[in-house]
């Protein structure tokens, strides 16, 4: 316990967490503004009649289906999108009602694969290698505490801060977007449970969930992704001497993952990489997974395995390695 306490205070005192909060505070208003602009534009065009707008979107997508220039995967994606949107229309629910809660939901859907992991990396990458850069690791290890305990305390502190980052992302996104869109919208129903079979959507499992519950489920998935990324960054942080190097390594992996998700649907074994499995919220929203054959359980197992390996590696390395320099 005292060790964990020590780690937590260190993270806060070294201002890593403030950096994360600052980044959020700086970026969320930008997204909010962009969203507001696009809402204004659609208001102009459609008189804020979302049904017309949605129907027009469906029709536009249907039109693009007949074009030969559109790749097949996109067509499948759009076909699924069309069916879902029709479902929303059929049940008279606006899927994109502009309010703070919906913005938060959308923001996190987009943030899960890159933004949140980056924030978590800001803390995780530094947690061990930072001690090494400053040389304080010697002091830490000369104490009469077992090495694995030291590392474990760091890991637990990391998990705690992962939760805090997810929470603060939610709070900041909600508070700031609420200024622009209003703070209501917790009770709006969101449909979940779309099951994709080929390019058809099975609607039998679809049910409405109030938005707050959806946010909770989403938060859980974001958290899981955050933990896995945290563990991996943690391992890199143990293996690599400098903080900068460990951040670069993790960032490269993440960005590569993002690029892969967009183009690797032909390379099906890419699905075993952790980076393409980050978009867990896709399963909640019922979107087409980037690579065929990916399901929630598959992604969870892949992520969990990567994270477990990372933990094992970091512990075995950390307990054995000599501390030089």
């Amino acid at each position: 316990m005292p060790l964990i306490k020590n780690e937590c205070i260190k993270i806060i005192k070294r201002k890593r967490f403030y950096v994360v909060l600052l980044v959020l505070l700086a970026l969320v208003p930008m997204f909010t503004y962009a969203q507001m602009k696009s809402a204004e534009r659609s208001q102009e065009k459609f008189n804020s009649d979302w049904r017309l707008e949605l129907q027009q979107r469906i029709t536009d997508n249907e039109n693009s289906l007949s074009s030969d220039r559109v790749p097949d995967e996109w067509k499948r994606y759009r076909l699924i999108f069309i069916q879902q949107m029709q479902y929303y229309l059929q049940h008279d629910v606006n899927p994109n009602q502009p309010n703070g809660v919906t913005f938060t939901r959308e923001f996190l859907n987009n943030a899960i694969s890159l933004f949140i992991p980056l924030l978590i990396m800001a803390i995780a990458s530094d947690i061990v290698s930072g001690e090494r850069t400053t040389g304080t690791i010697k002091m830490l290890l000369t104490r009469p505490v077992k090495r694995w305990k030291v590392l474990l305390s760091k890991l637990i502190a990391l998990i705690m801060f992962t939760s805090l980052i997810v929470l603060s992302t939610y709070i900041i996104a909600y508070l700031i977007s609420g200024l622009a869109f209003g703070y209501k919208g917790f009770d709006i129903p969101v449909f979940t449970g779309f099951q994709i079979v080929g390019s058809e959507v099975d609607m039998s499992g679809v049910h409405a969930v109030p938005q707050w519950k959806y946010l909770l489920m989403q938060g859980g998935l974001v958290w899981f992704v955050g933990i896995c990324i945290g563990m991996l960054a943690f391992m890199v942080s143990v293996l690599v001497r400098s903080t900068a190097a460990s951040i670069v390594i993790m960032m490269a992996a993440l960005i590569a993952g993002n690029i892969l998700t967009n183009m690797a649907s032909a390379w099906s074994s890419a699905k075993y990489l952790f980076m393409v499995n980050l978009n867990l919220t896709n399963y909640l929203a019922g979107n087409l997974p980037p690579i065929e054959g990916m399901t929630l359980n598959f992604s969870l197992i892949v992520l969990a395995l990567w994270a477990a390996c990372a933990v094992i590696v970091s512990f075995s390395v950390f307990t054995r390695r000599d501390i030089l320099n």
Binding site: F46, T59, E62
Partner: protein, 283 residues
């Protein structure tokens, strides 16, 4: 280090609580995605729509056309012509006529263009059951419809083969055989639109013959197209608030001028000519 103690207490308790909540959310999401429980959905009551449906579709509108309101709200539906395929500016006759009707103390607005390339009467009929499409039609007081061209010319199939006219199978007898079915569907479509929106002015755009410059196709095509237009006219004439805008004569001798490079769809000038006609009949 009093502040440290405070920091520790707050972060520790908050993070533990948050972690638990997030884990709960995770478990919940996990369960929900793996065993989605479909539940009977109460489709949200739509008072506005049911009201409209409850209102009797005024049967005795009188012989004269109801006056056109000052603010026109247009919804377009149908095939590529309504969409504006072939028009370099992408406007099509829908946007062109809407723009033209705007002004003079009148406002015209395009609510939605629901046209889809390659749409046939067969494809359109079930589409009219979609709630979103019904909604867009209900909001309008002018509905522009273009359909039937793909039924007769089999859409792009024929267009692609059009380079070698010998291969074309535009057998008039066969086409005429398909005609009754298609015009029956047209009637069903128009009746359905009328049922969805009892008050709107419905503008049906008649067909032209895009291949009349090909000798082999001139006569059979003319026969089929005019038979179709005749059938459509008969259906449209039954409703005082429906109009058929003829285009056959417009294109007859001006194919080179009015057709786009795919030799099937009109170009900008062709769409403008159709739009002019529509506006003439409306104002």
């Amino acid at each position: 280090m009093k502040s440290s103690a405070w920091i520790w207490r707050i972060t520790a308790s908050v993070s533990v609580i948050v972690t638990i909540v997030l884990i709960l959310g995770f478990v919940y999401a996990f369960k929900d995605i793996n065993n989605p429980q479909g539940e009977p959905l109460l489709s949200g009551g739509e008072p506005e729509i049911s009201d409209e449906e409850a209102a009797p579709a005024k049967p005795d509108q009188g012989p004269s056309l109801p006056a056109l309101p000052k603010d026109l709200k247009v919804t377009a539906i149908g095939d590529s012509l309504a969409k504006g395929t072939g028009d370099n500016s992408g406007s099509g006759f829908v946007r062109r006529s809407v723009d033209q009707m705007n002004g003079d103390g009148r406002t015209a607005k395009l609510l939605a263009n629901l046209a889809i390339n390659g749409m046939t009467t067969e494809g359109l009929l079930p589409k009219l059951d979609d709630k979103g499409i019904q909604y867009a039609l209900k909001q309008a007081n002018v509905i522009m419809l273009s359909i039937g061209g793909n039924d007769i010319f089999q859409g792009s199939d024929l267009m692609e083969e059009a380079t070698s006219p010998d291969e074309l199978e535009l057998d008039p007898a066969k086409l005429m055989g398909a005609l009754p079915m298609a015009s029956e569907r047209l009637q069903a479509i128009l009746e359905k639109i009328r049922l969805i929106n009892p008050e709107a002015r419905i503008v049906y755009v008649g067909l032209y013959h895009p291949f009349s410059d090909l000798e082999e196709l001139l006569i059979p095509g003319n026969i089929v197209v005019s038979a179709w237009n005749q059938a459509a006219m008969e259906i449209v004439n039954r409703d005082p608030n429906m109009t058929l805008v003829p285009t056959f004569d417009l294109f007859q001798h001006k194919l080179g001028e009015y057709l786009s490079s795919d030799h099937f769809h009109p170009n900008g000038a062709g769409y403008q000519a159709i739009a002019d006609r529509i506006v003439q009949g409306m104002l």
